[in-house]
């Protein structure tokens, strides 16, 4: 604003996050946002189908390692995400504010996101004890049922809240050993891109979370139709588009969860039953007497 300013700001380039790297979209396209704080326009990548497919490859390659990581380690890494986010609270609050969230609400959302991360960090080595069972069968077998991750989960994240919505949808999937390709809020994408930097600084292996910015209308059918995606989380997707996505998902029996009209600030939107949504139950019959 002022011509007497001593130095020029260095603006951030908002990029995608795929396989632990920060590429621009291969398509070269962008979407421009006018920052709400008067600091000018911001360009974010408009991811293409090809970007999505690259992200699925990265997510698939990360499944074996991440799902085999110990529950304790996953908990430690998720706790580390919370630590990194806490340290950058002011930056995230300012970005949310730039997207039009009131200052106090923006900081409250960042704090709620940190707390939700801590909540799920604590679930990492506990949800199995809630979701599993030992089954008293009538034959001489030790019979038990355990949750295992479904695999690659594609998420259309809530339009708002941009950051808390992302954390609330992505975390239960990755706590449970899945990997994720998530399409950030179309109207509030900035904190998602910055969240990728937090993930990157938190020992989350590359490919476990892949974050795209872009347009739902363009990408949803590709997400629903991709044959190497195992599950779909659809948050606030318009009824017709969601129905089409569910139909496409049937081709390879993607597990579809829809979240409409959810108040993500409510405590009950975080629970082991959200982790359960992207788990498969495996029952094992182990011999006892033979």
């Amino acid at each position: 604003m002022s011509g007497e300013r001593a130095r020029l700001d260095v603006a951030k380039t908002y990029k995608l996050y795929i396989g632990g790297k920060f590429p621009r979209t291969e398509s070269g396209r962008y979407v421009s946002f006018e920052r709400g704080d008067g600091a000018g326009a911001v360009n974010v990548c408009r991811a293409s189908r090809k970007d999505f497919r690259n992200a699925v490859v990265a997510a698939r390659s990360a499944v074996a390692g991440w799902s085999a990581a110990s529950a304790y380690l996953r908990g430690q890494i998720i706790y580390r995400i919370a630590e990194m986010l806490e340290g950058r609270a002011a930056q995230f609050a300012s970005e949310l504010h730039a997207e039009g969230v009131a200052e106090a609400a923006a900081m409250a959302q960042v704090e709620a996101s940190v707390d939700r991360l801590i909540h799920y960090a604590g679930w990492a080595d506990k949800y199995m004890q809630i979701l599993s069972s030992v089954n008293p069968v009538a034959s001489s077998h030790f019979n038990f049922s355990l949750p295992e991750p479904t695999g690659v989960v594609a998420c259309v994240l809530p339009e708002r809240p941009g950051l808390l919505g992302l954390v609330s949808v992505v975390l239960p999937a990755i706590v449970g050993g899945n990997t994720v390709v998530a399409l950030a809020s179309e109207s509030h994408p900035l904190s998602a891109v910055s969240f990728a930097e937090v993930l990157h600084a938190s020992d989350v292996p590359g490919g476990v979370v892949n974050l795209l910015t872009g347009q739902r209308d363009e990408l949803l059918s590709h997400m629903a139709g991709h044959m190497d995606v195992n599950a779909l989380a659809l948050c606030g997707v318009a009824a017709d588009a969601a129905t089409e996505a569910e139909k496409a998902a049937a081709e390879n029996f993607k597990r579809v969860r829809r979240f409409d009209d959810v108040d993500w600030s409510a405590d009950r939107t975080a629970s082991p039953w959200h982790i359960d949504a992207f788990q498969e139950i495996k029952t094992t019959w182990h011999p006892v007497a033979n």
């Binding site: 195992n230 009824a239 569910e246 139909k247 009209d261 959810v262 009950r268 182990h286």
Partner: protein, 493 residues
């Protein structure tokens, strides 16, 4: 060993016929639809015949439900849900389900005989497995009715409402039990459609349900073919849909229910690997392989239809397996000595034979053993297909008959890769003498049910269901209960 192992008995010894008596069975000439507690004809007046696949003789005429009848059944279920079942004290609801369990046990032999007559399965199996497990399933879930808050902590689980259910012909009464018991215990009312080739035990169950005094409309049973099922899945007043059957129909159901918000569980096809490691007890493994694929003529979605055997023991194992298969008796389902009964229908027999031809055309070696099959009725001798590749259709696709493909492997990784390399993920088996190898292999299989040193074991307490294209959701156990409850996780959570 220089001599070939053989299990053939001395020449001259024959099994005498050992037929199960049928004179204690009460069957009507015709059955209506069971709606709102009463048997009524279809609005169209249409009926179809159900036949005995072992003799091709008609057994009874059964009403064929149209859309009007399905509407009436759903309306009866809705009324029963709103006025009676959802208002009943959970412990009282549970007592009704207990009654069903006890009544099935009382009438077990009659159910077993009817099951074998209508579906073709050996009386040994319907008597010792299907019917006792059906009763046990109701008994298990009955006890959950007043304990739902303990099952799913923190969410106050609630019943869903009216459930539509479509079941297959391979375990007619047992599948009805798998569907009805958790639905009723959780507080839902039901419209159930049995398979068109095996409606009789479900209709006998309807009689039993009326006899035990279950309030009218809580369970409604509509008979018919695929059209009836399609009418049911498309019905706008369902709160839950559950299906067991083919993956192709499951996919159609998923598309039909897209956008409705109706929760569903799908238990679909399979192509299970039965993996024999080199340290397995071979005779025990042979019994397990036989049980894995020839149980119920191989009409089992979780059948161990792909044998994967370590190269180190492949030769002796296959020799013993062929010798054992040659002792199997293919014949009258009602004979107590029969191992492999009748194929369920003419259409299914044609499908199995088509796959055997496909195997031959793909260059595989086809071997059939067991006794000669009876001249009339639908039968298929136990079949081994060797010299197959992973990409062969007989390895990739579900045959749903007594047909086993055989592949070998050298390393753990090769076994895992081959086992997981189909679109299915319902079940699997591993044979080894070492506990840690059991866990290593069962952990590596992408399948919902894994048996170690056994196969095709079922229990009401044990969750069952698939990964990948074998479906979603679980039946049985605690997890099967959750499939009939609202845990507040859907839209508007």
């Amino acid at each position: 060993m220089a001599t070939k192992s053989t299990l053939a008995f001395e020449p001259g010894w024959q099994y005498d016929p050992a037929p199960e008596s049928t004179d204690h069975v009460s069957l009507r000439d015709s059955y209506g639809l069971f709606i709102d507690g009463e048997f009524t004809p279809a609005a169209s007046g249409k009926t179809f015949e159900t036949i005995n696949p072992a003799t091709q003789a008609p057994i009874a005429n059964v009403a064929q439900a149209g859309s009007e009848d399905v509407d009436r059944a759903v309306a009866a279920a809705r009324k029963a849900y709103d006025t009676v079942w959802s208002k009943m004290k959970p412990a009282e609801r549970g007592k009704y389900v207990f009654r069903i369990a006890r009544a099935i046990a009382e009438r077990a032999r009659e159910f077993a005989v009817v099951e074998s007559m209508d579906g073709g399965k050996p009386i040994r199996e319907s008597r010792d497995i299907d019917i006792p497990l059906a009763s046990a399933h109701f008994f298990y879930y009955a006890g959950w009715a007043d304990k739902l808050d303990y099952a799913f902590p923190g969410v106050s689980p609630k019943s869903l409402g009216v459930a539509g259910q479509v079941i297959p012909w391979n375990f007619p009464l047992l599948m009805a039990a798998w569907k009805l018991a958790p639905a009723l215990a959780a507080g839902n009312t039901v419209v159930l459609k049995p398979a068109e080739t095996t409606p009789l035990t479900a209709l006998k169950l309807a009689e039993l349900i009326a006899d035990v005094g279950l309030p009218p409309g809580v369970v409604n049973i509509v008979t018919g073919a695929g059209d009836t099922g399609a009418n049911l899945v498309r019905h706008p007043d369902l709160d839950k849909f559950a299906f067991t059957g083919s993956t192709a129909v499951g996919r159609d159901i998923m598309r039909t229910l897209a956008g409705t918000g109706t929760p569903y569980t799908l238990e679909l096809g399979g192509k299970a690997a039965n993996i024999v490691l080199e340290d397995a007890a071979l005779d025990q493994a042979v019994e397990g392989i036989v049980n894995g694929i020839f149980f119920n003529q191989g009409h089992v979605c979780c059948a161990g239809s792909r044998l994967l055997v370590s190269e180190a023991v492949a030769e002796p194992l296959l020799e013993r397996l062929r010798a054992r298969i040659d002792t199997l008796i293919v014949g009258d389902p009602l004979d107590k000595n029969t191992d492999i009964g009748a194929i369920n229908s003419e259409a299914q027999l044609a499908r199995i034979n088509e796959y055997i031809d496909i195997g031959r055309a793909e260059g595989a070696d086809v071997w059939q053993g067991g006794s000669e099959a009876p001249k009339s009725g639908y039968y298929c001798r136990p079949t081994l297909i060797t010299d197959v590749a992973q990409s062969n259709r007989v390895v990739q696709e579900e045959i749903f008959g007594p047909v086993l493909t055989v592949q070998t492997f050298r390393t753990f990784d090769e076994a895992r890769e081959k086992a997981n390399n189909t679109p299915y993920g319902l079940s699997g088996g591993v044979w080894t003498d070492k506990g840690s190898r059991i866990f290593k292999m069962t952990g590596a299989l992408r399948a919902g049910v894994v048996w170690a040193n056994t196969f095709n074991k079922f229990d009401p307490t044990s969750p069952f269901g698939g990964y990948k294209e074998s479906g979603m959701g679980r039946e049985g156990g605690l997890h099967g209960l959750g499939a009939y409850l609202d845990l507040g996780m859907g839209a508007g959570a």
